[in-house]
């Protein structure tokens, strides 16, 4: 899990948004975004790369050379320069947070929003369109759906937009019914005892 403490998040946001601004100026915001996404996936997959960026045992000079050797020419100059700046400022360990900050920043400028959708069965294309339209209607932004299939929900949808969660699942209904039955039973037992 990426680092979540206040100060690192704030620092990562500064780097992420500066990168975004630079990329926008040269019209490469989307391209850089894709590159960063790939880099993020690579980080997820490759433990050694993660260790290389994250470990304080690798000193900045060595890291600078390594970044130059591995990335220059294979990635856009902006990305490599960005990595070097992060490295020079000792913030390279925040790379994952920077990528996330870039992504959310880019998304916000495009008027998009992450929408997590959980459903019992995979959604059809029609349902996706309907859902996206519904999100647009309540939120005003375009939904980027992140779907998960969770058969234990039995039916319905759980949609999460930012901090807001909309739960229409059958599992939730059953939980409520169970609570109501238990409540009723408790009441009746008490009534019997009093009578």
């Amino acid at each position: 899990m990426a680092n979540r403490d206040e100060k690192s998040l704030a620092a990562a946001r500064v780097y992420g948004l500066s990168l975004l601004e630079l990329a926008e100026r040269s019209g490469a915001a989307q391209a850089l975004g894709e590159e960063l996404l790939d880099l993020g996936q690579l980080l997820d997959r490759d433990e050694k790369l993660r260790a290389f960026f994250g470990s304080p045992l690798v000193d900045a000079d060595t890291r600078r050379g390594m970044i130059e050797k591995t990335f220059r020419g294979r990635a856009s100059d902006l990305l490599v320069d960005g990595l070097q700046v992060l490295n020079r400022h000792g913030r390279i360990s925040l790379l994952e947070n920077v990528i996330e900050a870039y992504r959310t920043g880019y998304q916000a400028r495009q008027g998009h929003v992450d929408v997590q959708v959980r459903s019992a069965v995979p959604l059809s294309d029609g349902q996706r369109r309907e859902l996206a339209a519904a999100v647009n209607a309540i939120d005003g932004r375009t939904a980027d759906l992140i779907e998960t299939v969770d058969p234990s929900m039995l039916g319905g949808l759980v949609v999460r937009i930012g901090d807001r969660k909309i739960d229409t699942s059958v599992a939730k209904d059953l939980r409520t019914v169970r609570a109501q039955l238990a409540d009723r039973a408790a009441r009746e037992i008490l009534a019997d005892r009093v009578a």
């Binding site: 930012g162 019914v177 009441r187």
Partner: protein, 573 residues
């Protein structure tokens, strides 16, 4: 009993048929870390300070810290069941507890959940845990006594309704005993009592509840219990919960209430624990910066509310609380001083409000159609008896000085006195009631007014006399009197004295009627005397209880009764 399968399934079918599926919209966050009763939660950007939140396993929490990307939440319950990544949802509500008549006689935890095995607490009403204390306009001065039934306190350190009187002392000096006696003494006086146990041993609380039940005090008492094994957030909110339960009776029913916080030093420690875990900066003795406010906002809720009168149509029911029925004086606030109402709404609520309302009513041409009405939900009070435990008599520690400065006086208990057999072990010299004689009935004020100073000078003389010097007669007499007064102020636990009993007892002592008895016989004589008057001259007690003073007539017959009884008592012993 045979299991009725059909009936059960029909109940379930009915329940499901009636169930309307509702879309559940909530704002949620995610637990980042959890430990020691504190959870850091990512998200919940719109959460309010003090808001109640719910964890995915049904446990509740309270938002205390709002940070840039996360919120700090105290978990009100078992935090071991909460894991990293769990969902937390806002409820949009502040913490509240169930209140009402159903709470009386119950033992509950600080969230109002029953602990006494007597079934669910069915209450339709709730009150928020934290409210802002009433301002000066809504209050009146403390003038009405709240008798504790303890001679040493009612005579020298009187407690009034709406007062905050601190009980302070080392461990095992009888602090709880005083509070419990005060509760027991409220029997039949229409006072609702709340005993809040914070960080106490469960066994102690069981014993207290048992004692209260034994003396019939649970009929008007609520016990709020957050034991030493309860999570610190529960110990922290317990006093506020107790206050909220009492406030129902004070604000909605206009009743007098008595709340005992036993004890606030443990509550401060619980608050220190969770503040440190929330990474709030520590201050003196590692308490957080707002530990003073922790106690001041609680104790400020102890109050004597104003009495409200209005001139209302004659057919208004006695229990009406509808302020709009009051007839408004045509001249409003510009009316003559004798008739002037205290508010633009036509209500009379200052000191002589009743007299002014009556005067205006009498002056009305159609006065027959109206009457003066006292609103039954006005005039309630909450008396607070906070308890603080000191270490080695150290009253200048942080928490004791804080609470001493907040309260209207303190009852200081000393281990030396306790082990010397002076029980209640009240140190009269440094115990005070800042409300003082205002909260005493006239008769008691007259008789016991100088007692505190007399006893203090006795203590000084006593120390001097130990040097073994020859004493003149006057000094010797003062010493004898002092010794007998100290003896007279001893009182066993669970035996509250009525006002008249205290009055007679104090009268006999201060007027020197006991000076010719051996010190060892003072208590025996006192109880025999009171029993004798109860049996033979009950009218003396009745007159004192009614009038609140000892009339000259009563006084002379009392002196006679005491002297006669003394002769027979001395002959018998």
């Amino acid at each position: 009993m045979k299991l009725n399968v059909d009936e059960i399934s029909s109940v379930i079918t009915e329940e499901i048929q009636n169930y309307r599926s509702e879309v559940d919209v909530a704002e949620v966050g995610k637990v980042l870390e959890v430990g020691d009763g504190i959870a850091q939660v990512y998200g919940l950007g719109n959460a309010l300070a003090g808001e109640l939140v719910e964890f995915s396993n049904g446990q509740n929490g309270q938002v205390l810290n709002l940070e840039e990307n996360s919120v700090g939440i105290v978990i009100l319950g078992d935090y071991l069941e909460i894991r990293e990544g769990d969902e937390v949802r806002r409820t949009g509500e502040l913490l509240s507890v169930p209140v009402g008549d159903v709470m009386v006689g119950r033992v509950v935890d600080p969230l109002g959940r029953p602990l006494d095995g007597l079934g669910v607490v069915e209450s339709s009403e709730r009150r928020p845990l934290e409210i802002k204390a009433p301002g000066i306009v809504e209050r009146q001065g403390v003038t009405e006594p709240l008798m504790t039934g303890i001679k040493a306190i009612d005579s020298m350190i009187p407690v009034g309704r709406g007062q905050r009187e601190l009980i302070i002392g080392d461990r095992k000096t009888g602090k709880t005993a005083i509070a419990i006696d005060a509760i027991i003494n409220q029997k039949g006086k229409n006072v609702i009592c709340v005993y809040v146990a914070i960080g106490q041993k469960e066994s102690t609380v069981v014993a207290v509840v048992e004692k209260l039940r034994e003396h019939g005090a649970m009929d008007y008492t609520i016990v709020v219990q957050a034991g030493s094994s309860a999570p610190s957030p529960l110990q922290y909110i317990a006093p506020y919960a107790g206050a909220a339960m009492a406030e129902y009776f004070m604000y909605q029913r206009g009743m007098a209430t008595l709340v005992v916080y036993d004890d606030l030093s443990k509550q401060a420690q619980a608050y220190r624990q969770l503040s440190l875990l929330l990474k709030r900066p520590p201050g003196r003795e590692a308490y957080p910066g707002d530990v003073f406010y922790l106690h001041s906002r609680l104790l400020e809720r102890a109050v004597k509310m104003r009495d409200e009168y209005g001139v209302v149509p004659k057919d208004t029911p006695e229990d009406s609380t509808d302020r709009s029925l009051a007839r408004i004086h045509p001249d409003g606030l510009k009316a003559d001083a004798e008739h002037r109402p205290d508010g633009a709404d036509g209500l009379y609520h200052r000191d002589d409000g009743k007299e002014r309302a009556e005067a205006w009513h009498a002056s009305l041409a159609d006065s027959g159609k109206y009457r003066v009405h006292q609103y039954p939900d006005s005039g309630g009070s909450m008396t607070a008896l906070p308890i603080i435990e000191t270490l080695e008599g150290e009253v200048s520690a942080y928490i004791p000085t804080n609470v001493i400065s907040i309260t209207d006086g303190q009852i200081y208990l000393e281990p030396d006195l306790f082990f010397a057999g002076v029980r209640p072990a009240v140190n009269v010299g440094i115990s005070v009631s800042r409300v003082g004689g205002n909260a005493q009935r006239k008769g008691m004020k007259k008789i016991a007014g100088s007692l505190r100073l007399d006893l203090a000078s006795f203590r000084e003389l006593e120390a001097f006399a130990q040097l073994g010097t020859e004493l003149d007669d006057a000094t010797q007499r003062q010493l004898d009197r002092g010794e007998r007064m100290v003896e007279l102020l001893k009182q066993p636990q669970y035996t509250p004295y009525s006002f008249a009993h205290q009055l007679v007892s104090m009268y006999a002592g201060t007027k020197g009627l006991l000076d010719d008895l051996p010190t060892g016989q003072v208590l025996a004589f006192e109880s025999a005397l009171l029993r004798h008057i109860d049996d033979e001259f009950p009218e003396l007690f009745e007159s004192m209880e009614d009038k609140g003073v000892m009339t000259e007539e009563t006084e002379s017959s009392l002196v006679e009764v005491i002297n006669n009884f003394k002769t027979t008592f001395q002959a018998d012993n």
